[in-house]
């Protein structure tokens, strides 16, 4: 029977929830890395026992952790005895070293971005928001970071190099931080074209590369954002999350600061599909594992009131790729609920029927084993949940 592993990152540590394919009884392990913020954990599609974790702290900075045994044990890559020394005898310990590429050979000299007061501000590394393991090589992994940039590691996380073409693109000086910082939070790898990668940044917008990350172009045509001076600008949009179904990598679904959007041409243009949602503000968006037109969002009241409308926690599902939405409420609190669901805190498993999972800032992780019809908390008193990822194991 299959096993489902749910990787939960929280404000004060990581938790791993495990169940058999029935998904009724869950074993909770953790907290791992107690006291640290775990922005994201994700397993390699090639080797599910290989899991990467972003461990971060305002005090002690960024740590990358790696497990090679499905989350039982962890190590910062490159700090095992056999990895310790360079040929010169110096300690490596570079797995948490994210240095923006300022070399003229591989990118452009370090650029600046728009700051809150309208001045230009240099890029400053703060943390890794999202880790996206390669679809083909367990040692190859991408990292989306704040201040916004994309890095990759080809040695299992021991060292990181920036794909500087993104930040070095002409639009970089127009990017600006949202209230949560200027973060690159979404990395989508096209399963049909290894050279094509999508990324998204708050508050800059969505970007696409067709050459494995050397060059990037903004793909924000059709986005309309009233909180920037030119609401249709090429960049400056606060994209919260993008989702894609592996069978239809040209079709993208976006939860923007406001508006749920859809593109049928790899992001070349977007149309709004908010339809009958009670509010089109929100953070996560995800796609059913077996139905490429079935998508999920969690409407949030507004950008200042980060909780569900009317205190009712409702997931909305569209089976038509947007526009027509139904509220999914069974098993979810329908009164006095004022939690938020953050952008990386929703995921689906690959079983049939599809399991859908999301975590809240109140520390609950809810699961539906019937594609959203009914929900149950599988753990309910964790620290605020930052991210949820699932692994479906044979």
């Amino acid at each position: 029977m299959s096993t489902v592993r749910v990787l939960v990152g929280t404000r004060k540590g990581a938790f791993i929830l495990t169940s058999d394919g029935a998904r009724k009884r869950w074993k909770v392990s953790g907290p791992h890395f107690a006291g640290w913020e775990i922005y994201h954990m994700k397993g390699s599609p090639v080797d599910p026992d290989r899991i990467y974790a972003s461990q971060t702290s305002a005090w002690f900075g960024q740590i990358i952790q790696r497990s090679d045994d499905g989350g039982k044990t962890w190590n910062p890559p490159g700090t095992k005895p056999e990895d310790l020394m360079t040929p010169e005898g110096m300690p490596k310990g570079e797995s948490n070293m994210f240095v923006y590429d300022a070399s003229p050979e591989t990118g452009k000299p370090l650029t600046t971005h728009q700051w809150y007061d309208g001045t230009q501000h240099p890029w400053e590394f703060k943390r890794v928001w999202h880790l996206e393991p390669s679809l083909h090589d367990p040692d190859h992994v991408y990292a989306g970071v704040e201040d916004a940039a994309i890095f990759e590691s080809k040695d299992g996380g021991k060292s990181w190099q920036e794909l500087a073409g993104l930040r070095g693109s002409d639009t970089g000086p127009k990017w600006q931080p949202g209230a949560g910082g200027m973060c690159l939070h979404t990395i989508l790898l096209d399963p049909k074209d290894p050279q094509r990668i999508y990324s998204a940044i708050s508050a800059a917008g969505a970007f696409r590369t067709e050459d494995g990350g050397k060059t990037w172009k903004p793909i924000n045509r059709g986005l309309h954002s009233q909180y920037i001076p030119d609401s249709n600008a090429e960049v400056g949009h606060c994209v919260h999350r993008i989702a894609m179904h592996s069978s239809r990598p040209d079709r993208l679904f976006m939860q923007k600061h406001w508006d749920v959007m859809r593109s049928d041409n790899s992001g070349d243009s977007w149309t709004e599909v908010s339809g009958n949602l009670p509010t089109d503000f929100g953070f996560p968006i995800d796609v059913h594992a077996h139905e490429p037109e079935t998508i999920y969002v969690v409407p949030i009241k507004s950008d200042s009131e980060h909780y569900p409308p009317s205190g009712r926690l409702r997931v909305y599902r569209s089976r038509t790729g947007g526009n027509q939405w139904e509220a999914l409420t069974k098993g979810l609190p329908q009164r006095n609920c004022y939690v938020n669901v953050l952008r990386d805190a929703m995921s689906v498993d690959l079983l049939d029927p599809c399991g859908v999972y999301f975590g809240t800032t109140g520390g609950q992780v809810y699961a539906s084993v019937d594609a959203g019809d009914k929900w149950k908390p599988i753990v309910r008193d964790l620290p605020a949940v930052l991210s949820v990822e699932t692994q479906t194991l044979p």
Partner: protein, 98 residues
């Protein structure tokens, strides 16, 4: 033997319990002490000082012999009591809520 006390989060990261003991030759400074800590525990690189600039992270402090040495030059000799192991060198995470 020089004695160093790490904050709890870094003890967990480095898989150590209690104090860290270091043998150092020559003048003991913040820089030589921290170089030795990072050499022994490479996973701590970047957590106390910036990887590139080697500047102390803003919310990390260095205490020794009842004094805050955080703003001393990294190349200034540390007190004899640190160098001869009578007193520990404390690496502290700044007090904060949350």
């Amino acid at each position: 033997m020089i004695r160093v006390i790490l904050p709890p989060n870094l003890r967990t990261l480095a898989h150590v319990e209690g104090e860290v003991g270091l043998e150092l030759n020559g003048t003991v400074t913040q820089r030589s002490l921290l170089d030795a800590v990072e050499s022994k525990y490479p996973m701590l690189r970047g957590t106390i000082r910036d990887h590139v600039t080697q500047i102390r992270r803003p919310m990390v402090r260095f205490f020794a012999c009842g004094e805050d040495l955080s703003h001393e030059s990294p190349d200034a000799p540390l007190p004899d009591a640190i160098a001869n192991g009578v007193e520990p060198f404390l690496i502290i995470g700044a007090i904060a809520g949350g």
